[in-house]
Symmetry: C2
Subunit: 407 residues, 2 copies
C-alpha cells in the first residue's frame, strides 16, 4: 500500500514521473491561436517598422537646423514636401529644409528628428517656422526599433493571449507552431450515477463530475473525450480504461469512492502500468489515485464533486501543462476572510469562497457546507488553503485566494 | 470640444450612459455554457440528494442503540440488511438492528446515523459489533441538505465556470438561460495599414489592432465581427461605421491617430448619435473617443496597439459587461517591482510587465520600450498603473498587477 503524500510530494512526483510529450507541434493560423501553448520560440524575421517613423504630427527636420531656435527666434525652413500616410519617403531631405509628416508617417533620409506641429508655424509662403529646437532621434521610431530579424518575440511554452496575437500580427507570423491539444479521457464510475438529463431514481444521483471536468478541461485548452458512466464492475471498468488510454493522452476516472472500488481502480492501473500514488493529504481530495501507462497519466479522482474539483485544479491541470511543455501560471489575490474557518485534521484543507469588493477591501466569504455538497462549488469565485499545521484561520485573516472564475 | 476625462469619470460616464440590453436571453445546453453570462437566477426545483445518504462506508443505525458502547463493551446489533449503491432503502430499520451501507448509499427510515466500518466488527453470525457510539445525524447527508426546491443556486450575471457547470448538472438544469453573445464590430482605419498576411510596402505597417481586438473579444465571450481595414476617407468610414452599427451591438474603430482623422471619427459619431468623450487622461490611450447611437457604444480606439490594448481592457470590456448585465470581476495580484519606473505627465500611466516567481516572491518586471511599440505587449503577463499624481515607482515597490494571460 502506498503512503499518503503531501501536496508538495505530489508535485515532485509529477515532475519526476512525467515528461513533455514530443513531436506535438502543429501549425495553425495565428488568429486561431488564443489560449494555445506555443511550441517553439518565435523570432522576428524582419524589421518592424521597416522605415524610420514619426511618432507625432509635425515636421521632419535635421535637428541641427533647429538648434538655438525659440518662439522669439524661430528657425525658418523651406517646406520641401509632405509625407503621406502609408507612403514611403524615398528621398533625402536637403539640409536646411523640412517636410510635413503625420503620426506614423515615414521620415526621409537625412532628417533625424520630428518637431510637433504645436511648436511650428506655417507662414503660408512655403516656409515653416520652428519654435523649439529638436534633438536627434526625438519623436521618432527608427527602423527595427521595435523588432529586427532574429529578435526573440515570444518563448516556447507561452500560453498565447490577445496581446501576443497582436505581436504575431505585427511581425507577420500568420502561421504559428503550437502544441497539439491534449486528448483527455473522462470516465465516471458509480452504480448510483445517472446522466444529468435523467431523473434520479431511489438511491441515485446525477453525475456531476463528467460535465464539470469536461468543461474545465475544455476551458484549459484540452480536448476532453467523454467516456460516460461505467458501473462499478472491474471488467467493464478495465475495458473502458484501456480504450481511453489507447485513444487519449491522459485518463481521468472519477468515483469509485467505496473501498472495494478504489482497490479495483488501483488494480486496473497496476495492470496497465505503474501505480504511483494512493492518497493525498488534503481535505477534501484524499482518496486520489495516480498512475501511468508509459508517459500517460491515469488518474483516479475522488467521487465527491468538490474533492474532484480541487484535485483536478491543483494537480491534474499542472500535470497536463507539463505534458504540453507549457507554463502554468498560478496567481493568487490577497483577500480578507470574513469569518473564521476551522481546520484540525492533519491535512491541508481547501475551501471555496466568494469574493466581494467593499471599497478598497477585497473580502473572501467562505462557502460553508457539509463535505461533498455540490453547492459549495456553485458561484465560487476562488479557493484558499489552510495548511496542515494550522488549526484554522480567524475572521479578518489576510488570505491568498486562487481564482476560479471563467475557467 | 469635450474635456479630457479621468478614468473614474469615464467609468461613471459608462454607468450613466449605457444600460443592459433587454430581451437577450437564450437557452443553451448547460454543457455549452462555460464562459457565458447567466441571464436569470437559477433556483433548484428538486431535492439533492433526494434521499438520506451515508458519507462513509459502514452501518446505518439508530444512534440511541449505540449510546454508551465502546471497544470494551460493543453494542451488538443484528444485521438487518445491506444497502447497495444506486438502490433505494424503502423500508424502516427496526430498532436494535443495523444495515450495511456504502459511502453515498441510501439510509433507511428509522436510522439516523452511520457508523464508520473502522469502528465495527462483523462477528460472522449475522450480528455486528459497534465499538463507538454514534450521534444523531453523524456521517449523514439528509435529503435536501445540499439543495431543496426554491433554493437559489446561481445568480443572474454570473460568468459560468466549470464549478457552476457541475452545480447545474447536480440539480438537473440541462438547459440554462444565458445572455446572447454581443456582436461587436471591429474596424481598423489608416492609409498605412496592410493586413497581417501582406508584406508591408514603403511607409506601411501591418494591422495589429484587428486581430488583437478580435481575439480579446472572442476570449471575453463576444462575437467579434471583422470589418477589415478602411482607408482614412470620411465617406467610406461613415458607410462602414453605419453598416457595423446596424449589424452589431457595439462598434470599435481603431486608428485614425492623426488629427484630421480623429475629427472625422468624431463627426461620424455625432452624425450617428451622441459624442460622449474625446480624450482620457491615461498614457498610453489619450486619443480615445466614445459615443453612442441609442444604447450602442461607438468607440474610437487609439491607433497605437499598446494604447488600443489598454483602452480595450480598461474601458471597453467593462462597458460590454454592462451591456450584458454581467459581473466583470477585476482582480489584481500583488507583486514586487524589479526596476524603478518613471512617470510625470499628469496622466495615469499604464505599463505592461512580466511576472516571475522567485521562491515566495512574485516579481513584476516592467517591459521597457518606446511608446507604441508592439513588443511591449508580446509576452506580457499583466499590467500596472502609476497614478497621475505619482512621479514614478521605485525598485522594490509593492504594486498591484492586473493579469492578462490567456485572455
Amino acid at each position: 500500500m502506498l503512503q499518503v503524500k503531501t501536496p508538495d510530494e505530489v508535485f515532485a512526483l509529477i515532475q519526476d514521473e512525467f515528461t513533455a510529450i514530443e513531436n506535438r507541434t502543429e501549425y495553425i493560423p495565428f488568429t486561431s491561436a488564443m489560449g494555445r501553448v506555443l511550441a517553439e520560440d518565435i523570432l522576428a524575421e524582419e524589421y518592424v517598422p521597416d522605415f524610420d517613423r514619426s511618432t507625432v504630427d509635425g515636421f521632419a527636420v535635421r535637428a541641427s537646423d533647429t538648434f538655438g531656435c525659440s518662439e522669439a527666434i524661430p528657425a525658418i525652413l523651406p517646406l520641401y514636401g509632405e509625407v503621406l500616410m502609408g507612403q514611403g519617403a524615398d528621398y533625402t531631405l536637403p539640409a536646411g529644409t523640412c517636410c510635413a509628416v503625420p503620426t506614423g508617417g515615414a521620415i526621409p533620409r537625412g532628417a533625424d528628428c520630428a518637431v510637433m506641429i504645436e511648436y511650428t508655424e506655417d507662414y503660408g509662403d512655403g516656409t515653416i517656422g520652428i519654435n523649439k529646437a529638436g534633438a536627434p532621434g526625438q519623436n521618432m521610431i527608427f527602423r527595427g526599433d521595435d523588432v529586427y530579424p532574429g529578435k526573440p518575440v515570444l518563448k516556447a511554452g507561452r500560453l498565447l493571449s490577445s496581446q501576443d496575437i497582436g505581436a504575431l500580427a505585427a511581425i507577420g507570423r500568420i502561421s504559428v507552431p503550437v502544441v497539439k491539444k491534449l486528448r483527455v479521457g473522462v470516465i465516471s464510475t458509480g452504480d448510483e450515477l445517472v446522466p444529468p438529463e435523467a431523473p434520479p431514481g431511489p438511491g441515485q444521483v446525477r453525475d456531476v463530475n463528467t460535465p464539470m471536468l469536461v468543461s474545465m478541461l475544455t476551458a484549459f485548452g484540452a480536448a476532453a473525450v467523454d467516456y460516460g458512466i461505467v458501473i462499478d464492475d472491474e471488467t467493464l471498468l478495465g475495458e473502458k480504461m484501456h480504450k481511453a488510454a489507447e485513444e487519449c493522452d491522459a485518463v481521468l476516472i472519477s468515483g469509485g469512492s467505496s473501498v472495494g472500488v478504489k482497490d479495483v481502480t488501483c488494480r486496473i492501473i497496476e495492470s496497465m502500468g505503474t501505480l504511483l500514488l494512493h492518497g493525498i493529504a488534503i481535505k477534501p481530495g484524499k482518496p486520489t489515485i495516480m498512475g501511468k501507462a508509459g508517459n500517460k497519466p491515469l488518474i483516479g479522482l475522488p467521487g465527491h464533486p468538490v474533492a474532484a474539483f480541487f484535485v483536478a485544479k491543483l494537480f491534474v491541470l499542472p500535470l497536463l501543462c507539463q505534458l504540453m511543455g507549457g507554463d502554468m501560471p498560478r496567481y493568487t489575490v490577497t483577500a480578507e476572510l470574513t469569518e473564521s474557518v476551522g481546520a484540525n485534521h492533519g491535512r491541508a484543507q481547501y475551501n471555496c469562497c466568494r469574493l466581494e469588493r467593499h471599497g478598497t477591501r477585497l473580502l473572501a466569504v467562505p462557502v460553508r457546507s457539509k463535505s461533498g455538497l455540490i453547492t459549495q462549488l456553485a458561484g465560487a469565485d476562488g479557493f484558499f488553503c489552510i495548511e496542515r499545521d494550522c488549526e484554522g484561520l480567524p475572521e479578518g485573516a489576510e488570505i491568498q485566494v486562487t481564482l476560479c472564475v471563467g475557467d
